[in-house]
């Protein structure tokens, strides 16, 4: 196992270099430029435009820009935001706590809902509870987050006046902090738990009928123990996969939900940076995300081995 991890970590380096090249290429070639807003404004003469481009280092060929970016990245310098003319790392750090608090909690809530609900609806397949869980999971999944967000706002903010719908980092009292985080967390948890529930249920169903479960039952083990000890453990493999895919996304935030509730997380920074073609910020966020993806997929592979000792990576 150790050699496997070492080998994977070593291959991660060329992988990440390749990924960074591809991302850099996409960002450099994608349409749009950081001066977008000025194009419609005749007050900015071409020579100033040229100067701004030069300051941003955008007047050089793409390969050179890549090498410059890569060397300074390794040196720990993530570059300057075009829009704020300020270091990118600072911008990200400013938003990370909010991100972890809102998006992280939402993800945790989704798991805490999805695993028990999925297990129960698998064990009691086609019971009333399973039907309710299935139907609500699909309603949750088929309504996009922009829509559920607005419905919640209209009900809880406009009609009932219970909750504020604009997230404000200046709020420091615990009640206020919880109140303003409730709706974004609910929207995200609903959406994420919907899909997760389905996967937990199906993978539990796959295992409920297996030989070893019958054996366990035949041994006279009580139902709860069979489910938790045996079925759940084996049924978790696809769930681990999905979690490994989902956790890096906590870092990049949830674009739509953050926009609706104005949560100043990394997702809203990413989307506005993309819209302004603020490449250094987009590059920093996506590349950090890439590192997390590679890392968490490695973690997932290790966990597979723990959950099911038969799995070999030979």
């Amino acid at each position: 196992m150790t050699t496997y991890i070492v080998r994977r970590l070593l291959t991660a380096i060329p992988t990440l270099i390749l990924i960074s090249m591809v991302i850099f290429g996409i960002l450099a070639l994608a349409p749009g430029d950081p001066l977008g807003q000025f194009a419609a404004n005749p007050d900015v003469p071409p020579e100033v435009r040229q100067n701004i481009l030069h300051q941003m280092g955008l007047d050089e060929p793409i390969p050179i820009r890549y090498v410059k970016w890569a060397t300074s990245w390794i040196a720990g310098n993530w570059g300057y935001s075009f829009a704020s003319r300020t270091p990118v790392a600072g911008l990200l750090l400013q938003r990370l706590p909010t991100d972890l608090w809102v998006i992280g909690l939402a993800y945790l809530a989704a798991i805490l809902i999805a695993v028990p609900v999925g297990v129960i609806s698998a064990v009691k397949q086609y019971s009333l509870l399973d039907q309710i869980a299935t139907t609500s999971a699909f309603i949750g999944y088929s309504l996009p987050t922009f829509f559920t967000g607005i419905v919640l706002i209209i009900v809880f903010s406009v009609r009932l006046r219970w909750l504020p719908f604009i997230y404000n980092v200046q709020v420091h009292d615990p009640v206020g902090m919880v109140k303003q985080a409730v709706m974004p967390i609910a929207v995200l948890a609903l959406f994420n738990s919907a899909a997760l529930t389905r996967f937990v249920r199906s993978s539990m169903l796959d295992n409920v009928g297996q030989d070893y479960v019958r054996t366990a039952r035949a041994k006279g083990l009580e139902q709860r123990r069979v489910i938790v000890r045996h079925v759940l453990r084996n049924g978790l493999i696809p769930v681990v996969t999905l979690l490994a895919l989902g956790l890096p996304a906590v870092f990049t935030g949830a674009v739509v939900t953050e926009q609706i509730f104005r949560v100043p997380g990394i997702g809203s920074l990413l989307i506005s940076s993309i819209q302004n073609s603020d490449t250094p910020v987009v590059m920093a966020v996506t590349f950090t995300y890439a590192i997390l993806v590679v890392l968490f997929n490695l973690v997932a592979d290790v966990i597979y081995g723990v959950l099911d000792p038969r799995i070999r990576y030979g």
Partner: protein, 320 residues
């Protein structure tokens, strides 16, 4: 070498695996995997109901406009945001356009996009995942790093770049409607196969080591046959779940794409777009959101029940 026997072997408790490999236990009447599946599927009431609803939605979208002749684009501000009535069964939108006509027209596109994108992402995901999981080692390493790369690509700039590169050539070769259709399907399918691939691979890693596969291998079954006949049927359930989920996701994603200027022309209604357009009018004219939202829900829910039925029907561990 019977496919039926071997794939089902792991499910028959208590019988030594080796004895099931040959043609020893031929069932009393001729049964095939698919025949069994169909028989079980028919007995699954919710699945049948789901199939019926989905066929109804599809049929209604295709044939509806032949019967219901109201145009989708006529502007009439005199009757804007009218609630459902005999004249406009689904009401009208803020421009006074008939919602029923638009929902039916939109259904054609949304269902087609949803199914086509699902087929594409599942095919890609199954291929990548099963090859990586089956062969392991270097193949696994390379394919999974490619998956990692696709997972970490920034979607939005990539979409903008894709449109920029491919929209005009596709529209020229396939015509404006079809060109955009395939562009959208390609984009959605091409960017959503990764979770399926990872799930399939994880399943393959687990199943590949099971006794019946070892047995199959030991009697000289080739890799292609091992993958598709023996292992795949045992890891199908996450595929079915992700396939059914991805239809809904594709319908929603399509509406997001049109807001990047990547989708169909702005006056072409699709379910996702109708829902998006209705969001500002939720408290003014809730019916504008209700009907497209209901259609998406129904489509997703019915496909899911079909998926559930398929899962149960194809489950190799079930005896009847």
């Amino acid at each position: 070498m019977s496919a039926v026997a071997s794939t089902r072997s792991s499910g028959l408790a208590g019988v030594p695996v080796a004895s099931r490999i040959g043609r020893v236990e031929r069932p009393r009447y001729a049964r095939t995997l698919w025949g069994d599946a169909w028989r079980r599927f028919r007995r699954h009431r919710l699945a049948m109901a789901g199939a019926f609803v989905f066929l109804f939605l599809t049929f209604g979208s295709i044939a509806g406009p032949w019967v219901y002749h109201v145009p989708i684009n006529t502007l009439n501000f005199g009757t804007s945001m009218a609630p459902p009535s005999a004249l406009h069964p689904f009401g009208t939108n803020d421009l006074g356009q008939d919602m029923l006509a638009r929902v039916m027209y939109g259904g054609r596109i949304s269902i087609a996009v949803g199914i086509a994108a699902m087929v594409m992402s599942v095919t890609l995901g199954v291929l990548m995942g099963s090859i990586a999981g089956f062969f392991g080692r270097t193949v696994d390493l390379v394919l999974m790093r490619i998956t990692d790369m696709f997972l970490s690509l920034p979607a939005l700039p990539l979409l903008l770049l894709t449109t920029y590169l491919f929209r005009d050539p596709l529209m020229r070769t396939l015509g404006p409607q079809l060109g955009i259709f395939w562009l959208i399907v390609g984009v959605i399918g091409g960017l959503n196969w990764m979770p399926t691939a990872r799930l399939i691979r994880a399943g393959f890693l687990a199943v590949r080591e099971k006794e019946f596969i070892e047995a199959a291998r030991s009697v000289g079954v080739g890799p292609v046959k091992q993958i598709f006949r023996h292992i795949l049927p045992n890891v199908l359930s996450p595929v079915i779940v992700s396939a059914t989920l991805s239809v809904g996701a594709a319908i929603i994603t399509e509406s997001t794409l049109s807001f990047l200027g990547l989708g169909f022309p702005p006056d072409v209604p699709t379910w996702g777009r109708l829902l998006y357009d209705a969001q500002n009018y939720l408290d003014l004219a809730p019916h504008m959101a209700l009907f497209p939202g209901l259609m998406i829900c129904l489509a997703v829910l019915s496909i899911n029940y079909v998926g559930d039925g398929l899962r149960d029907a194809l489950d190799p561990t079930r005896i009847f």
